[in-house]
Structure formats: structure tokens, C-alpha cells
Symmetry: C4
Subunit: 281 residues, 4 copies
């Protein structure tokens, strides 16, 4: 097990080549946000934009359109009820986030299944929130994970549902065993978040804290991971995922010096400045 440290950020968040354009920094597609949880997918989308993704499209319901455009006019919109638009958006994306605020309706299951079915080997898929719960009800869907680049971002209870390992028994050994079977990267969010990679390495986080225990924190993380995977290609994607997760918590820790609770919106706003600082260390 290795500790991720600040030095890793400098390695991953490199200077951009002068001759480049938004197409070089990843097309991110975020899928989620039902009538009750629209804020979740908006925060994921906004985090992706602020973390440097080239182009971000948010697939959600019309009810969330105004808030999406107001919070982050840089993001585009696809109507989650429009099958044809979803098909095209899935086709074009480099990185897909599914789950924040998606809910567990049959419509949600359907869009998730469609996403898995259409998934291309060149694409990254980050599975979070409601999508993890849906996944736990469809164990046969895991067989689609083989040879794909899939990242699960469960908290402990979601991991229990997915892995069938009760929280109290979630040791690195047991977690790694199931994770390897699943053939997905697992970012297990907890006090001391741990990342289980496909190459069997385990990365551990020593930053972050209880000022992050607030709704929307995980949604924000998905956007950061997506943006990082979309734009940073010099190193292995294991390293990039580690750097994204570290950025999220290290920035929260920095903000906790002046805030009792660190809100996702605050983290998102400070990403461009934090990433620059990290790249200049």
C-alpha cells in the first residue's frame, strides 16, 4: 500500500502543450439528476468543468436545465428522456460519469444498462451513487466490466451492497479480492479513502477530514476524476485516478483552515487555483 502525496499532483497536473485545443482535454458526459437529486449531477458537471475538462455535457432531466446553465453555463445539456440524444452523447464521450442523483427507477436502470452496453474500450466509466445501488441488484452486469476502464466510487455502505462484504469486515485483503473479481478500479470513500487498482496496487489517502461529511461531496469527486482522466495521459490511469482523489481531499483540507464545513460548491470554485498551485510545486 502506498500513501498518495502532494508530489504526485505535480507529476500528473503538467503544463499543457501550447498547441492544443479543447478536444485534447476530454469530452466528459455526466449522467444523473432525477427530479429529486438534480443538484448532484450539476455539481459533478461543474467540478468537471472547473477541473479542466475540455467539454462537458450533462445528461439530466429538463427540470434541472435552468440550474445547470446558471451554475455552469460552460456545460452542455442532453435530455435524459431523449434516447437518440443519449445514444449520440454516449458514442462521443471520452469519459462518462453515471449515478449522481440518478435514482433507482426503472428508467434509471435502463439508462445505466444502455451505458454499459454501448461502452467502448477507449472510454472511462465512473460509477457512483444510485448507479452503485442499481449495480448491486444486477450482479450479472459485472461481466460487462471485463476489458473496460471502469471506476467505482462507493462509500462503505455502497461497497457493502456491491461487494457483499459487511462494513466491519472490509479489510484491504477482502476488498482487493472482490475488486479484482469485478475488474474495476474501486475508490472506497471513508476516513482514509483507499483506492484498489486493477494492477493490484493499493493507494491510500492521508488528507481530508470530517469537514467533508456533507451532501454532494461524492458527486463532486466524480467530476474531478472525470476531468483528470479526460486530460492527463502522460502517466498510467491508476496514477491519474489517485491524483484526482487526492486533489479533492487536499483542497478540502486546505479550505478547512477557514471553514468549519467545506461545501462542494466551495471546492469546485477553488479547483482552477488549487490545480495551478499543485502543478508549480
Amino acid at each position: 500500500m502506498t500513501e498518495i502525496n502532494y508530489q504526485l499532483l505535480k507529476e500528473v497536473i503538467h503544463s499543457r502543450p501550447l498547441e492544443s485545443h479543447k478536444g485534447n482535454y476530454g469530452r466528459v458526459l455526466t449522467i444523473g439528476g432525477n427530479l429529486n437529486f438534480g443538484g448532484a449531477i450539476i455539481m459533478s458537471s461543474s467540478a468537471a468543468v472547473h477541473a479542466g475538462a475540455g467539454l462537458v455535457t450533462c445528461a439530466t432531466y429538463r427540470e434541472n436545465l435552468s440550474a445547470l446553465h446558471t451554475i455552469v453555463p460552460e456545460a452542455m445539456f442532453v435530455d435524459l428522456a431523449n434516447d437518440q440524444q443519449i445514444t449520440a452523447a454516449l458514442e462521443q464521450a471520452d469519459v462518462i460519469v453515471i449515478g449522481p442523483g440518478l435514482g433507482e427507477s426503472s428508467a434509471a436502470e435502463k439508462i445505466f444498462k444502455k451505458t454499459l452496453t454501448q461502452l467502448q474500450s477507449r472510454q472511462f466509466l465512473i460509477i457512483d451513487g444510485s448507479a452503485l445501488t442499481i449495480l448491486s441488484h444486477h450482479q450479472n452486469w459485472f461481466k460487462r466490466f471485463a476489458k473496460q476502464k471502469i471506476i467505482l466510487t462507493p462509500h462503505q455502505m455502497e461497497w457493502q451492497r456491491v461487494s457483499q462484504i459487511p462494513i466491519k469486515k472490509q479489510t484491504d485483503t477482502r476488498n482487493l479480492a472482490v475488486q479484482q473479481e469485478l475488474q474495476a478500479t474501486v475508490v472506497l470513500k471513508k476516513f482514509g479513502t483507499t483506492i484498489y487498482h486493477l494492477n493490484r496496487t493499493i493507494a491510500h489517502l492521508n488528507v481530508g477530514g470530517p469537514y467533508m461529511a456533507t451532501g454532494g461531496m461524492g458527486d463532486t469527486l466524480t467530476g474531478i476524476i472525470a476531468a483528470f482522466l479526460g486530460q492527463f495521459h502522460q502517466t498510467t490511469y491508476e496514477t491519474v485516478v489517485d491524483a484526482a482523489v487526492y486533489t479533492h481531499s487536499a483542497l478540502a483540507q486546505k479550505l478547512s483552515a477557514t471553514n468549519y464545513v467545506v461545501l462542494p460548491s466551495q471546492i469546485i470554485k477553488n479547483l482552477p487555483n488549487f490545480m495551478l498551485s499543485a502543478s508549480l510545486v
Copy 2:
């Protein structure tokens, strides 16, 4: 009668335990916001998020959805017209706020009655604004208060309606007598806000001022009280309510050093920083 002082904040706003998650900091449900007064419940919800509540759900009408998600994407939404969703949300909450911008329609009465009927002894219920007026029309509802943890936050005119004590006769002795009958904590908002507790103690506020005399100020207070009750459990809930009310006015007073009028939105934005400062005194 005791004066609440800044030192109390340090006692209540303690360092969070390292191993904790958003579930430890309270599920707050805010109920209100009709077509005319949507801003009220949004400010209550946003105050709850910024004051550190773990999870905040706002039950309001669809017309207020976009503004809610834009102002505070961290909050979730429940449709106030959807009885089934309301039942579930009431069931799960740790702290409920009812009243900001709710209005006094028969639909408002119905949702309030449902809230009282479903109320569990483990839950806190904060009653504000329109809900206080509704309450004054249904004196028989008070009998449901017995053995519940209920906080009323009237200004003087609302307290007159509820208590039948004319403003000019609202002395501590009379207020306490009625408050004890009602079996609810009463936060009487005025110049020198006074809190009447179930244990017969009376707490008095010597901070705040007329820069707070602006619409939405009371709505904001409800969110702060809710967040504090949701997350601080080391001391009695009397102490926690005192600290929440003090935080609201002390922060306003601090902001009045640079603002002629202190707007609720300004207070809300500064809560995370103020709470940290208070916890470090």
C-alpha cells in the same frame, strides 16, 4: 435568566470526530415555500447546508426547484404536492423545519397536520412563520406537543397569536407560563431575543441589532437551528438551540461592521467561516 455568550459557541461547535460521515451530522427536512414565498424555504435550506447539516432535503413546490438547486445544489428536493414522497421524507428526517414561506392555505394546514401526526420522539421539529399562524388557529394541535422536541420561533406578533399574550404584556413570567403549558421551546425573536426552555431556564441574547430587520432573517435562523440540532449532541439540546440563535445574531453583528443592512444571503455565506472561528476561540 442567563446571557448567552460567545464562549458557549466553543462548547457546542466542537471538533468533529475523524471517523464520521454525513449521516452523523443530521438529516434535515425543510418544509415550506409556496408560489409567493419560495425564497424563504430556500434560505432556510441553504442556511442548514452552510451551518453543517449532513444532508438537507427541501420539501417545496416545483416552481421553486430551479432557484433551490441554483442557490444550494447541495440540497435535495421533495415535491410538496407528492404525498408519498413527503411521508418518506418525514419518516427519515432527524430535524424538521416547517413554516418558512409555507402560506396558510388548506394544503399548508394539511401538510402541517401530517407533520405533527407523523412526528417521532427522536425528531426535532422547528415551527416558524406561516406554520405559527396556522397553529394559532388550531389550539387543539398543541396537545400533540407532549413529549416531543418542538421549537417555536415566533416574532412578537406571532407569539401574540400563539400565546394570546398581547405584545405589550409579553413579560418573561407570562411568556414562560404559556410556554410551559405548550411544552415547546420558544425562541421569541425581538430586540434582545429570549429563549424559553422546557427546563424553565430562560436564555437571553445580547448580540444582534436593527441591521437584521429585513425579510428572510427568521427563515435563515430556522436552518441554523436545524443544522445545529442535527450535528451537535454532546450537550443538552437547550444549549444547542442557544448556540444556534447566538451564532445567527453574532454573525450578523460581525457583518454589520461593514454593512448597513445585513442580508440573510450574506449571513448564510459566512457561516462556515464564522463557525470555525467560534470553535477555535
Copy 3:
């Protein structure tokens, strides 16, 4: 003719009495904002809130509800299409603003006529924008101005329409003559804004500049005048209007030290701080 100066602000923007509540600082009703010009009435409402009005209600169409609540959740909403609600709102207001973004439809004419008909002698009415143009088409409406407290805020072209004095002939003498006939205060917005009072005094502004030549600037002024009239009662209302107009331009001038163009939103945001500074001179 007198020059308004900064010292006047200190006279008007006094310390608030400790024992006071939002009801003491004025109920402002803003009427306007059709489908095309919703931003105008939102800026007027937000300016009123930020300038210290106790309670602000915005009567506009439903299409503008989300933006209103997002920009200024402290303001309440009344549906301009709901005659009954408008009647009640007109009845309760202390200060009414009509015109920003109202348009010149027959519905706009109807609501304006209703406002004039219902107007009470204790109320102030500020007439701006589209409402001035409507007024110029209904010269017989002026007879309703007698013994009312009415403030017109035309720019030069609007004043030409209302007064029938061509811009080039708008001298103080001619302006005053017509203004006295109309029996309304006239704030004539131009380079060197001039205010014609019912008592025949003329006040002149020597602050402000071309950085204010941007859409929404006049809408913002209406909100400031309304808030000042709602809360400041120690001096004559002539003095209060002068102070409001001066505040608007003096604050713009201050912001022009760091901005090539000063946007209304920027002025609004800085009102609470500017008013405090002015009161402490």
C-alpha cells in the same frame, strides 16, 4: 438650485433605532418585468433589498420567478396575472415602483391604471421605464397625481414624451413649469441628473458618469429610491429622494475607480457597504 453632496447621505442614512423590526423599514412593491424584460424588475427588487427595505415583493410574471428567487431570495413574489393578489399587494405596500420592464401592452396599461386608482395618500409611487411611456399616452391620468406622493424617473427622451418638451429645450425653467403642473417629483436622468421637487426646489447631481451608460441602471435606481423612502422618515421626502439618487451615482463613481463600465449588479451588491460608509462619515 442646490448641489447634492456626500454630507447629505450622513443626514439621511442614520443609525437605526435598536427597537425596531422589518415592518419599520418599509414594504416595497415592485411591478414590472414582462417576458422580454424580466431582468429589469429583478434588479429593481434586488436594489430595494440591498438598500435596506424591510420587505420587498416583486409583482411580475411566472416566467421570471426562478431568476427572481435565485438573484434575491429575500424578495417575495406576486403573480402579475393574478388580479386578486395584485389588489392585496397594492393595498399593503408603503412604496410602489411601477414600470421597469413592464412593457406597453394593454395588460401593462391595465395594471398601471389599477395602481393609480388604488393609490393611497400614505403611499409613495415611483414611475419608471415603460410606465412613463404609457403615461405619455394617457394625459388624463395625470389628474390622479394631485395630493399623491409620486416620483417620475425619466431619462431625457422619456421626459420629452411625458412633458412634451423636446430634449434640446429641456431647461430648468421649462422642466420646472411642467413638473409643477404634473404635481410629481421628477428625477431627470442625464449627465448631471436634476431633481425637481414639489416645493419648487431643484437639486443637482455632480457625481456619476458615462460608466453608468448601460442597461438596467435606471431600474436599479428605482429600487434604491423605494428602499430609502420606505425606511428614512426623519427628514422631508425631498431630502430622501435626493439622497437615494446621490447614493446610486456616488457608488457607481466609486466603483468606476476599478471598472471601465459599472454594472447594475455590481452597484446592488455594494449598497450595504456603501450605505454604512456614508452613514459613518
Copy 4:
């Protein structure tokens, strides 16, 4: 070929004459924003407002109304589905932007054709985004460009579509040849953005960088160009276009000193301050 430099900004961004009003600073009309790309036209509109345009009207669909008014209440709205309103808005504008987020539907083609047909020789027309793609499908529309003041703002792929010159063969000589045939100013956005003027001069940009490679950057540029053309008349319009393009990238470069990625919203917000600094050099 000349390098644009900071000194040019001082030449163009002059002090405003004291006696002037919003009508002197240009009526800008922005046309775009379908259901999927609403943020694009909102950013264009907001950039125009912040860059000093006197009056900005955004012609888009109703779905984008709330976000437009919330982000920039200073802008007015015209319903893109309302042919009569569009006709009037086109008639009155001094500068028109068409394309950001417009899409390529037949409705989009129709509105674009209408714009070209109604175009007056006193007006500027900036063609961007989707409108460039539409243009590439209608080569016969170019004949309408003669004796009009048209500015195209393609990135390299869009220029390939319009000019039929493959990206790799886009040399100044070839670009200029086609541009002269088209009779339009061409702002070719790339690493080292180059501007081809009707008078055959070529201006080259040596500011900006890959921190600008993010969605919405080009939309923002259109608003800045429009505002500059609307308000600055002392020099040739070639000079004004150069200054607008330079402002966009030079401000981004300034912000890149503290941000890894510079978001369009950040550029927009800082325009009033940057323009003042440039005018004072």
C-alpha cells in the same frame, strides 16, 4: 503581418465622453442557444454586457430564459420562436452575433437566413459556432456578404469547412485568398490566433494559451467583439476587432497566473476591471 500589442488597447478603449447615454454604446443582439447549448448564448450575452455594450438583447428559446436573467439580468430576452419579435430586434440592432449554441436544425438555418436577408449596411454581423457550419452548407449565402460588415470567428476545423482549406494547408497566403473572396473579416482561432481583414492586413496574437482550451471560450469572444464594435468608433473597425480579440486572450493570460484552466465565466467577470486597466496604461 502585425503583432497586436497591449498598447493597442489604450488606443481603442478610450475614456467615454461625459455627455453620453447607453444608446451611444451599441445595441447588441445575440442569437443562439437551443435546448442543448443554452449556456453558449448566455455567455456571449454576458460577455457583451461586461465588455460595455449599451444594451444587450439575447434571442434564444424560452428554456434558457431563467438562466439568462439569473446570470445577467442586465440583458433583455427575445423569444427565438417569435418571428415578429426577431424581425424587430434585427431591425434595431447595431451589432448582431449569430451562432453560439444555435445548432444546425432547419429552424436555425431559417433564422440565420433571415438575419442575412435583413442585414443592413450600418450593422455588424459576427458569425460563430453552429452558424459557421450552416454557412459551409450554403455557399451561395456568401454572395450576401458583399458590402456588409461581417466577422467570422472560426476555429481551424470550422475554417476548413467554410474555406475548404484543410487544416494542415491553412497558411496565411491561402487563408487570405479565400477570406478576400468571402468579403468578411476572419478571426481564425488557434494557437497564435490570426485575423484577416478586408483591407488585406493580417493581425497576429501573441497572448493566450492552452488554459483557454475549454468549452464556451469562443462564445465569450463573440460577446466581447460585439461590445467593442458597438461602443468604440474612433478608429477603424479593423483596429476595434483586433483590440477585442486581444482583450479576450490577454485577460485569460492574466488570469492564468492564478488558475490552471481559465473559465469563460471568470473572464467575463473580470472584463470591466481589465478594460479599465488597459485604458489607463
